[in-house]
Symmetry: C2
Subunit: 388 residues, 2 copies
């Protein structure tokens, strides 16, 4: 009752507390494969005990230089040449996106997103009451020509330009597409010309099974218009909630001022740092890549067998298949039928800022085991028959 | 350059990266006494290793029932009778305040704060571009009669009412005052009458050296108008970044939807839960209370010796002394002179939403050791002579 007197944000839908029912196979969220979660017991002990005057105390807002320096060094391999003062440690990449919104976006400002785009980014944008400028995608990623046209129209009409461009350029979530190098350069040039900020969300870069990575937009930008988001969630473990933002020192300093929690958790940061320093990151990434490549192949094989009418572009990395359903199948109805059959998939509707065709579902192959993937696809095929 | 085209929040002052110089004695922020930081090595190992399928994975937004149930049970001792569905785990109490703002406050809405009030709450409010309704304090806490008068004036003038009332009722930060029981009841009645939400920030409740605690406002409210904030920062360790919000299930569910990081870190939550379940919380609180009571007494003795012209109300708990300076001493100038002499104190100006008299400094006795407290007060007295 009291709540209704209040803000527009009272319209935010409460999160239900209900857990997944037993026996549900999850192709839903991009959780890590449980067997590939590292055992960090020894380093957690070290971080909590030997380092306790650091890890049990309040942390500086930007955190101590050591992890920031490590991250700056790590990024150099991707061609991003930054010093530690351009890095801020945050509670995962989504926290970084939230801070970018808090710093740059006012209610009713618009942001550029691909259509479809990452559903959790949409959840964050919704909290900031943004409007959307939705841009199509093809096999090379965001249609930058379409964006250029739309920006030109807005400029000629004297209408406000968008504030941010959000994209997941490497193994796009949900489509799995990687933005080509020419498109990236074109997007950076466009952002520079119109004074837009690009948020480059890049969690899957190292989860590459084949092919060569494309240089990050941040590596080809000299102007500071790219805000890079990174995370240890896909590199080490999601539960650590340690990510980073790379931007100009000016932006990074202001984001630090806007962090409501003061410094992020020093215990998990120290844990991650010691893990990386111990040389355990690279072997772990190799294991993870091998595991997820295997999962992808098992899912593709199961789809070929049970769902020959569905199609997808084979992703060269990342966590997801973006499955084009046979004609006449509605993704929302399929997702409901699939849940009833004991397999969780996310329908296309969750990935559109406003609206889009109900022609796809996203299947995460990261979390489920090989046998669950096979069984889950079988259930999905049954649900599809039901949803016809 | 790009930044200047943007939002009002670009005016947020960047956080400087500079650490404290060596040898600085800190009476500044409310950090824990390093010797009282618990060694959680064994439980960190347990949480990261045995519980790793839970602690390394994404956590549910409200977190699993167990810690929420533990918190609900813990609050029962204070007369707050709630079920776990009224609890959400967050990254410290400040994160809870930020979520309350995100849910309830629009730019230019006003919030009620005491004058002075907690500086970090002001930092969070600033990020939300609120206006303030500042209310005085006396020995019984917030002047609820003054608030009633101001609300009546606004109502009669047909002007918008504030959205939130923020207070630290138990060992107020910075003044150390505890709000009396009649005032608490009056404030709850006022909030109910005008449809305001009260944010009851209660981190210091268990850090009581003498006297009897006053029942929380949330324990005397039946209407759901109180949002309670709690934290393990002062109970166990600040570095864990684990706190909670208690509110109606409707509010808690919406806050969960607005959490940008998804679920908070499951590793630190499991660690805290196992710590509490192992029966280590209560003995630790007893140690901490004894330590801080001793620190307070040492600081009071040193002040009596070196700064007989300064006065303060002796706090019965918490972390801070709110020191009234001798007439003619400007708190801002004193803080600068003190830092030069090697002791960090926070001037009154940091605790006023708009402006207030420069007559006080806040001294935290939590962090410094006994000998540092004595030496720090000596340096402060020298600085005071300099600032005359």
């Amino acid at each position: 009752m009291t709540l209704l007197r209040y803000a527009r944000r009272a319209a935010v839908v409460p999160v239900p507390a209900a857990p997944e029912p037993d026996g549900m196979i999850s192709f839903g969220s991009g959780d890590a494969y449980p067997e590939r979660l590292p055992d960090l017991g020894d380093l957690a002990h070290l971080a909590a005990s030997r380092f306790r005057t650091e890890t049990m105390q309040y942390a500086p807002r930007l955190w101590i230089g050591e992890l920031r320096e490590w991250i700056a060094g790590y990024l150099a391999a991707d061609g991003i040449r930054v010093t530690a003062d351009r890095v801020i440690v945050v509670n995962g990449a989504k926290h970084g996106l939230d801070l970018a919104c808090k710093l740059f976006v006012e209610p009713r400002d618009s942001v550029v997103v691909t259509s479809p785009t990452y559903m959790s980014a949409l959840g964050i944008f919704r909290g900031w009451e943004v409007e959307y400028l939705e841009i199509g995608q093809d096999g090379e990623g965001m249609r930058v020509d379409e964006l250029a046209e739309r920006l030109g129209e807005l400029e000629r009409a004297g209408r406000p330009l968008p504030k941010l461009v959000y994209d997941v350029p490497e193994f796009h979530n949900p489509t799995g597409v990687t933005v080509s190098a020419p498109r990236r350069r074109a997007l950076v040039a466009l952002a520079q010309r119109y004074g837009l900020m690009i948020v480059e969300d890049d969690p899957y870069r190292r989860i590459r099974f084949e092919g060569a990575p494309v240089a990050p937009m941040q590596s080809v930008d000299e102007s500071g218009c790219v805000i890079g988001l990174g995370t240890f969630a896909k590199l080490v473990a999601p539960g650590l909630r340690v990510g980073w933002v790379v931007a100009t020192p000016e932006i990074v300093g202001r984001m630090a001022a806007l962090k409501s929690d003061g410094g992020s958790c020093p215990l998990t940061q120290r844990l991650v740092l010691e893990y990386c320093r111990a040389g355990r990151l690279e072997p772990h990434i190799r294991d993870v890549v091998k595991t997820y490549a295997g999962h992808r192949d098992i899912m593709l094989a199961a789809l070929a067998r049970h769902l020959p009418g569905a199609r997808c572009v084979v992703p060269q990395g990342g966590y997801y298949l973006w499955l084009r359903l046979p004609d006449g199948i509605d993704a929302d109805r399929l997702a409901v039928a699939a849940a009833r059959r004991g397999v969780r998939v996310l329908p296309a509707s969750q990935f559109y800022a406003t609206a889009g065709p109900a022609t796809h579902v996203r299947l995460a192959y990261s979390y489920a085991s090989a046998s669950e993937i096979a069984e889950g696809v079988r259930r999905l095929a049954q649900a599809l028959e039901e949803a016809r």
